[in-house]
């Protein structure tokens, strides 16, 4: 009976979403009031509130959307219309760690496609699917404004720069094993729910979170170092003359024993 009911849709309307337990609701409502107070018009709080309900359940449930609608005086249809427009709102329960591999053109060409393929194979999941233990949700993401660190992987929206298939495989293995994982730029990982709370506008209170990984990343500093007359990069090839610029054969990494690894540095290993 139950199975048949799930398979056959009779076009019946869904029952109203169940309410949050009173304690959860009271807590979310207090947070929501704080968020709403930041804006001249309450509806502006909708995106942060969707992040907030996501921080409760790890995804935006019908219960979460109903609460947003009630608090802002909107219909659930209006809230659903917004929640389904934005890619960061998950529509189903997902993993503790959202692993996003950039496969927009530049990262894809630099190796993002190979990393994404390797992770799909290694984890046995496809795009936007979660490992059976509920730890890792894999997805391919669009350009994340870190092209000078390509190829880029994001975990719970912290930067893991200059990845390879090997480093990314190690990364997800560490996440699944519960080992501490630190990004190249950003704070030590917290859970996806905790990340969603920061996105709702509640600052990360963990000591050292703001300071973690220091100032600018290495690629952000290459121009500054050059301008100061410092060598920007330990592996930069020697400046070349007129001819070698674009069309003439250049010295290859194979013929340059001092720099066997070539110019592509591996960060964060």
């Amino acid at each position: 009976m139950t199975e048949a009911r799930q398979e056959v849709s009779l076009g019946m309307p869904q029952l109203p979403a169940p309410a949050y337990p009173a304690e959860v609701r009271a807590r979310l409502e207090a947070d929501a009031k704080e968020v709403i107070a930041r804006y001249p018009d309450s509806r502006s709080a909708l995106l942060p509130l969707l992040h907030l309900v996501q921080s409760e359940e790890g995804y935006v449930s019908r219960t979460g959307m109903a609460l947003c609608a009630e608090l802002l005086g909107l219909t659930t249809a209006e809230v659903t219309g917004v929640a389904t427009f934005y890619t960061m709102y998950r529509r189903k329960p997902s993993g503790d760690y959202q692993v996003g591999v950039c496969t927009n053109t530049l990262c894809a060409v630099m190796g993002g496609d190979a990393i994404f393929d390797r992770l799909k194979q290694h984890l046995g999941v496809g795009n936007n699917e979660t490992t059976e233990d509920g730890k890792v949700t894999l997805e391919h993401i669009e350009c994340n404004a870190a092209c000078d660190f390509a190829p880029v992987v994001m975990v719970n929206w912290e930067f893991f720069d200059n990845q390879t298939p090997e480093s990314a495989t190690q990364l997800v293995d560490d996440l699944i094993a519960g080992r501490t994982v630190e990004p190249t730029r950003g704070a030590p990982l917290c859970s996806y729910k905790e990340t969603a709370r920061i996105l709702a506008g509640f600052p990360d209170q963990r000591p050292g979170a703001v300071e973690a990984t220091g100032g600018a990343g290495p690629a952000s500093l290459v121009g500054l170092r050059l301008a100061k007359g410092e060598e920007p990069h330990p592996k930069v090839v020697a400046p070349r003359g007129e001819q070698a610029r674009t069309d003439a054969p250049q010295q290859t990494s194979a013929s340059d024993p001092d720099h066997p690894a070539g110019p592509a540095a591996e960060e964060g290993e």
Partner: protein, 459 residues
């Protein structure tokens, strides 16, 4: 003599000019300090001095000063920043708003995110100055959601600024009151378009609005609103602190000042290079080690994927608004994505087009339907299932999107199609006649040559 003139006088391709002379770090000047993002560090480097000078002027004089400096928008369109401020009607009795567009999502663009990570106070100081000028008492930073490390530092910088009296009531005793709200988006490229951003900030789906009315008249909550890019606003404090003449001594007459160039892809040293407007890609590559060893430049974008691509013929195009425009593209966000000869241009354009199809908000039919069909055709061509007639069809569909939608997303989607067919039509044809892609994607990866090198050593 301007710095640009010095560059030009350097002779020919300027391979002799030193990076110290060609680069001009301002916003990035102290990013290498251990705690570059803190208020302390910022103040040690002249932070909030520009604000003091601004508050000593009348708001109208301040707008005129920024206009005279020649600062142009760094988000892509290059509209004069001071003029945008001037468009705000005064004495209209409505609240005015400043909304900073920190939704940096254009493929290849990666300047605002490192800027905010390393130096968020330059933006906050610029916001206070701008709000004083346009008589606004509430500003918003719309930051894309996918960059939590940056969000953390913005939260902290705003907290520090309130505590130090740079935000809140009667800032520095001037009587200026200002609230600043940091707002995280939720993943939608289209929200980088200013009117879609405003709809999103109002709690709606991010879809562009028909203009007019322009945001300066009816923006956020239908009130006069200035929407500026992060880098534009962050550049204002230095202009106030060091003077407009100093600013105009860099760059060219019509494109004065300094800006962040983001070098990425198959280059030896990808990263941020802050330089006067008008530097060339050749100069940037020469000073930074060129393309990765053993390879040559094939194609590149001057300002993200929405700007028509260039080839190695364009290495000496001055990277300012006029120079890039005259060469048939746009300066855009100065996102210099460089691809070498191992890269398949059809693969690159297909991927960008998939992006535009995914990110099209669905409001305008030409963009929504056109990007879908472009993807179908491109995937077939890349897989060796295309026909010669498909190439004209691509051009035709792109032409039916370009200029026929509410916002620039459609135009952006057409750019890589037009420009790649212009410069690399023969490569498309090879995919069709050869029934597949002649390139090996493994050779394009960042580690491709590492492996070769190791094999070479071990063999």
């Amino acid at each position: 003599m301007t710095l640009a003139a010095e560059i030009n006088d350097g002779g020919g391709n300027n391979s002799g000019a030193s990076p110290e002379k060609l680069l001009s770090p301002v916003l990035s000047a102290f990013w290498d300090e251990p705690e570059s993002w803190t208020l302390d560090t910022y103040k040690r480097h002249g932070g909030y001095e520009g604000l003091r000078k601004a508050l000593a002027m009348s708001p109208d004089d301040l707008i005129a000063y920024v206009k005279d400096s020649g600062l142009r928008g760094r988000g892509g369109a290059g509209f004069p920043t001071g003029m945008k401020w001037q468009f705000i009607p005064q004495g209209d009795g409505k609240p005015h708003y400043l909304v900073v567009n920190a939704d940096e999502s254009e493929p290849g663009t990666c300047k605002d995110i490192p800027l905010l990570f390393a130096n968020p106070h330059s933006l906050i100081e610029g916001i206070v100055i701008a709000c004083y000028a346009i008589r606004s008492s509430h500003a918003f930073i719309y930051l894309r959601g996918e960059v939590v490390p940056v969000l953390r530092r913005l939260h902290e910088a705003v907290r520090e600024a309130y505590e130090a009296g740079y935000l809140g009531t009667s800032i520095l005793g001037s009587g200026l009151d200002l609230e600043l709200t940091v707002h995280a988006g939720a993943g939608a490229y289209i929200c980088g378009e200013e009117t879609a951003l405003l709809d999103s900030l109002e709690g709606r789906r991010g879809q562009p609005r028909l203009r007019p009315p322009f945001p300066a008249v009816a923006g956020l909550y239908a009130c006069p609103t200035v929407v500026n890019n992060v880098e534009s606003i962050a550049s204002v404090p230095a202009i106030l602190n060091k003077g407009k003449d100093w600013f105009k001594s860099m760059g060219s007459e019509k494109s004065p000042g300094f800006t962040l160039y983001s070098l990425s892809g198959h280059v030896a040293s990808p990263g941020q290079y802050e330089a006067p407007l008008g530097i060339t890609l050749r100069q940037l590559l020469d000073m930074s080690g060129g393309m990765r060893a053993g390879h040559r430049l094939k194609f590149w974008t001057p300002g993200g994927s929405s700007t028509p691509m260039f080839t190695d013929e364009h290495l000496d195009v001055p990277l300012d608004y006029e120079g890039v425009g005259a060469a048939g593209s746009m300066l855009g966000t100065k996102a210099l994505q460089c691809f070498d000869e191992t890269t398949c241009v059809v693969r690159a354009v297909t991927r960008w087009t998939e992006f535009y199809a995914h990110e099209s908000c669905g409001k305008c039919t030409p963009c929504r339907e056109g990007t879908y069909w472009l993807v179908q055709l491109l995937r077939d061509i890349e897989a060796g299932k295309g026909q010669m007639a498909d190439l004209d069809k691509l051009n035709d569909i792109a032409d039916n999107i370009n200029g026929k939608s509410f916002c620039a997303l459609g135009d952006g989607a057409a750019s890589p199609i037009f420009s790649s067919l212009k410069y690399f039509r023969e490569e498309y044809e090879r995919h069709i006649t050869g029934r597949g892609c002649p390139f090996d994607p493994a050779k394009s990866t960042a580690w491709a040559d590492d492996k070769n090198a190791h094999q070479g050593v071990n063999a």
